[in-house]
Symmetry: C2
Subunit: 343 residues, 2 copies
DNA sequence: AGTGCTATGATAGACGGGTTCTTTTGTCTA
DNA sequence: TAGACAAAAGAACCCGTCTATCATAGCACT
């Protein structure tokens, strides 16, 4: 590989030595000026600063990191940037990182194929990161056997607990309980479920919450329907339920987008929401897209999650070494898509 | 500052020298094994690899970068990760970066305050980046006077052209012409405009396109309305127009979310879409949120934009040094929110 | 015995910033 | 004018990886 030119004619970035030569001082004096250390004559300081300005000096990240042993960046690995869950994760972590004057090194894995934690870790470890965050939106094949790299904080964002790795996530199980309790209090019992794709971890826990809530009240859960998180898939499912289940009084859709589709389907089938059928969703994600959003849902504090994730991934802050499993509860937002069931 | 321990007891990361000592070979042999170079005995190779495994060796990013003068990462600076425009930018660039085996170093600036290009550049320059990408979603105060850092590729994602910096963006002016031509062909002339916040660069160009298209046909543009990109703001504007402008036959909303709100407002006002009023939007962003999306809109190829941005930011690829302004045309998607105007 | 090859080691230097130790310079006082 | 002392600046070295020389040992083939 062609090396950068060592002479002054090339495009090699400007180093302290270059500045020192230009200012007629030693490299250490430049260092002192750059870092604001004392014991530098005012005239010398100005001469050095002028040289820095002139040459366009910027300290080398590589050199500094090599010395300090720190990168001031945290690695984040997700499969698809645009998915709501991942996007909100990036946003939350970006906020937390900014507070700690940290950058985020983002690596996007394959959008469609599953990836192993080992591979994700391997890729992240080759990058300038003080900590590793892996978004595990679908079960990794090596989750059970995975061992985190020693010497670098690792956090997996998922609902599954791991014996050797800290995991953080919004409580995708608890949100179901919140919604189901709300529906139970209104008097609903025949509550159908429209879920996301079954490989999704969020889906698995949201569905489990729905099922457990019913069984705890000795109500037999009717077969859950599977969508793909999109409004259209929610519409299909809603249409199917409207036609085939006359006993149903409420629908729990595993995200707001599908809930929105289901509402449209119910109305197209001549059913009123919430008078005939109540509908709830999760995420509180409709506000930007739908006017007069009336959907009862659960909102997660994604910035808090981002903060928790960040602070557990970067060893300097928070509980270093200890493996914990953090579940951040959501907040029930009651709007007008839920009501007392028809008699 | 406390330095990392140099002895073997501490938590200092494992270096090649440590591996060499453990395997009883020289440091070069470790290097040869690590880099897959020839002339290493199979037994030795295995012994070294075992030692690497045992000690958990990972090559130091800092050391390697210092030597190679490359970071294999591109810096991306945006003000708000969650905004549709920024999100799609991240997504597109992430794809392009992955193709080049590159990571993204993401820095989020203040979500609310404007930031200067100089400040963004300064922050990015202190990070491990081979190129700098700045998303300028609102006009920077120093846009005119800004000089890019020498020796590092810089790209600004914006519609404004710059004499000394390459700029890339989706064609937010041209998309308006596409939509207006479509409406003109159907026979519309009284086309009202619902825009985003006026500080937004995208808004400025989308609105200019609308206005120019009308003036080119010698139609006097009626006062544009200003929303905040949300469906609710589109609803408000749509409601206002339905009540105050009986001559209007079409609405151009500057994004799909406001268009969706406007449609709801028109229908609440007793007007049919598209029979009474046609509505168009931009972005093609509704599919996940709305069932049976019928909105005529413009879709941008965000991955192409990401690729263009990436390749102009990283000097190794593409047109290095030359300052260009790239505008990527959108594609008109005709659905069923537009029709021939009522007589 | 001589030639040619492979495997490995020893040594050093480049990369850029920062720390520690040492030397030079300047000023003030006895 | 010599001595004390502080300020200013320099010299050397470290961080970890990679490469560039050499040098050397072992082995096979002629």
């Amino acid at each position: 590989m062609a090396r950068r030119p060592s002479n002054d004619t090339g495009t090699r970035p400007v180093s302290m030595a270059d500045v020192a030569r230009a200012a007629g001082v030693s490299q250490q004096t430049v260092s002192r000026v750059a870092n604001g250390l004392p014991n530098v004559n005012e005239q010398t300081r100005q001469r050095v600063q002028a040289a820095m300005q002139e040459l366009g000096f910027r300290p080398s990240y590589a050199g500094r990191s090599l010395r300090d042993g720190r990168y001031h960046s945290v690695g984040l690995c997700v499969n698809d940037v645009t998915k709501f869950g991942n996007l909100s994760m990036i946003d939350g972590i970006a906020s937390a990182a900014r507070e700690h004057n940290c950058a985020i090194t983002l690596v996007e894995m394959s959008k469609t194929e599953e990836f192993s934690l080992a591979e994700a870790t391997r890729r992240m470890a080759a990058l300038p990161v003080d900590g590793i965050i892996i978004g595990m939106s679908r079960m990794a094949p090596d989750f059970e056997t995975f061992d985190p790299l020693p010497g670098i904080g690792t956090v997996i964002v998922t609902m599954y607990a791991h014996p050797r790795v800290t995991t953080v996530d919004s409580d995708h199980y608890g949100c179901s309980l919140l919604l189901m309790d709300h529906l139970f209090e209104l008097g609903h019992e025949q509550i159908r479920y429209i879920g996301g794709p079954s490989f999704s971890v969020d889906e698995q826990f949201r569905r489990a919450g729905w099922q457990d809530a019913l069984e705890r009240k000795h109500i037999k859960p009717q077969a859950p329907l599977e969508g793909d998180w999109s409004a259209n898939s929610g519409y299909e499912a809603g249409r199917f339920l409207a036609e085939h289940d006359r006993a149903m009084t409420a629908i729990y859709a595993a995200n707001d987008q599908m809930a929105n589709g289901a509402i449209a389907a119910l109305r197209d089938s001549g059913l009123r929401v919430p008078e005939d059928v109540s509908v709830v969703g999760v995420d509180d994600s409709l506000d930007d897209f739908v006017a007069h959003n009336e959907l009862t849902t659960v909102r997660f504090d994604l910035h808090q999650r981002g903060r928790e994730v960040f602070e557990h991934a970067v060893p300097e802050v928070g509980t270093a070494g200890k493996t914990v499993a953090i579940r951040i509860p959501g907040q029930l937002i009651i709007r007008h898509s839920t009501a007392i069931p028809r008699a």
